[in-house]
Amino acid sequence: MDEAADFMIRRILIANRGEIARRIMRTCRAMGIESVAIYSDADAHALHTREADFAEPVGPAPASQSYLNITQVIDAARRAGADAVHPGYGFLSERGEFADACVEAGLTFVGPPASVIRGMGSKTAARATMIAAGVPVVPGETPADQSPAAIAKAVRAVGLPALLKAAAGGGGKGMRVIRESSEVDDAIVAARTESERAFGDGTLYVERLIEHARHIEVQIFGDTHGNVVHVLERDCTLQRRHQKVIEEAPAPRLSPKVRATLLDAAVAAARAVGYVNAGTIEFILEGDGDEARFYFLEMNTRLQVEHPVTEAVTGLDLVRAQLLVASGAPLPFTQADVRASGHAIECRVYAEDARRLLPQSGRLLMYREPVGDGIRVDAGVAEGDTVTVHYDPLIAKLITHGATRDEAIDRMTSSLLSYDILGLRHNISFLLALLRREEVRDSRVHTRFIEEQLDALAAPPDAGLVRAAAAIAAWAATRQTSPVTLSGEDDLSALDPWALIKSVAW
């Protein structure tokens, strides 16, 4: 096996922002690859823009005019003299035409070939491919006739409850649960409208709704030398509105027999589509023990948000492997090298009001991450930065690793308790409430657990906690040396609150 590839990426444009842009840069730096950031007008001073070796503007704040603008991104790569592009996740990462545009511009695209992205991007085509590869799929129907009447007929054929999904879908967009036959017509209109708006394609299909199921996914990796391996599984059952909240590896309470079959199926599926680079095959798991059954959900042809839990338990750097494979080198590890050590868990820290379910924006008046052994924080922001309304409200991913699952969870709890974020509302108390639940501790959860337990999980803080907070507020306010706050008489509303922040080193 030739160790050195003929070609090695020297300067890479990272077609993304926030934490994932920074995470990719970290590996680039370790490999001696120069990084080029792109930024919208809103991100001119963002952390990922400041940290990159080079940075190129790509347009106004709305993503559709900047991070999603293929012409702008390719131009930026040309201007910067990049020889490769890493798409990260989201944005253009799963757009076949972007992969094509990179190749046409002479840039190495860090990901699978455009044909594979397209094949998996259509959920209906992916289903057909998996059926052909012998991978179990959720029972369902893909009506060739896309009229509302034909889709309604397909819903009746599949039976209720059913799940209406967008063929071009992802991230829960264009998806509707149908429980009553009276809901069918409205659901078709809603799913179609949402799908057309989000993806420019209103094609729908129907699946049987599998309730009380778990979401298990397999990290797979292929190279251009014909190697395809799995890098174990992750459990991403804890979701809210189809957005993952907590992920872990390995999946708890998975029988060795089912795990082996699942990992084999994922490798078979990846081989069937000629997969190259990092990808994830998502399954839903129904039932328990050796009797558990899994069904293919979809394949994500990119690096996954939750890849750090896999890195934590395997000790592998998945971005490094991506860059090597994209350069034409063989995978830097074999199947035998892939072993889990301990347990890892990831919490997504979002700027959101967990009670009212609303994303938040604002300036980070204080931002202090937990530190310690077995703790990793992948953040896109620093103190003083602004979380804007334009992009995903993810502030950071907090990952903890322990010898056992209990240890990883305990470490997560103490890390969340010492994570100080002020200036906007976030979901840390909600994450703590989740981790305190016995069902989560015992891994007896399903994908609707959060929705069903929302009231309890988002319960208001008890009086004792509010009083402690009030006492801390009073103490802090009186330590404020500025006369303006103590007098309380002046109208400060016209001033930038940032100007009045006292530096806080208690």
Partner: protein, 159 residues
């Protein structure tokens, strides 16, 4: 002696007396004074009820506090100084955050039923419908489709 100040949090308010590291809150049990002290760049509040550690930032009239992952924003102005806003209805017709108006489903003068979607906003990839809180009439619209609206900006008049 020490310092006195007012704290408001939603519908609750307190008068706090801060003497060195001892904080007393009224209304509340006089005996239950809370000791606040800096510990390793954070703030620890100790009372007979227990110990809580968090942090705080003073920003103008607001004090942001985090304890056990909860975020509290206290207002240090007296009630009389605080802006008097309209009732709940008015708050219902404002954007909860900077957002884009993606759809206006009603016209001025239109009668609507409770629960009808009047305006759809979009922020951070989420759609946020503004619904009629009861049967009524849309008197006027103060926004246009495609417009970026700010929190607390009135989007429509409703009776």
């Amino acid at each position: 002696m020490g310092k006195r100040l007012h704290l408001t949090l939603g519908d609750d308010s307190w008068t706090a007396q801060v003497s060195a590291n001892t904080v007393t809150l009224e209304p509340g049990d006089e005996a239950a004074a809370i000791e606040v002290e800096p510990v390793a760049s954070r703030l620890r509040a100790r009372s007979p009820a227990g110990e809580k550690t968090g942090n705080a930032v003073v920003a103008g009239d607001s004090v942001w506090v985090t304890v056990e992952g909860e975020v509290f924003v206290f207002d240090t102005r007296r009630r009389s100084q605080q802006d008097r806003r309209g009732g709940r209805d008015q708050a219902a017709f404002t954007a909860p955050m900077p957002a884009t108006v993606v759809r206006i489903a009603v016209k001025a003068g239109q009668s609507v039923h409770a629960g009808d979607v009047l305006i759809s906003l979009e922020a951070m990839k989420m759609e946020l419908p503004i619904r009629a809180p009861r049967d009524g009439v849309v008197r006027a619209l103060h926004c246009r489709e495609g417009e970026l609206v700010q929190p607390d900006q009135s989007l429509l008049d409703f009776e």
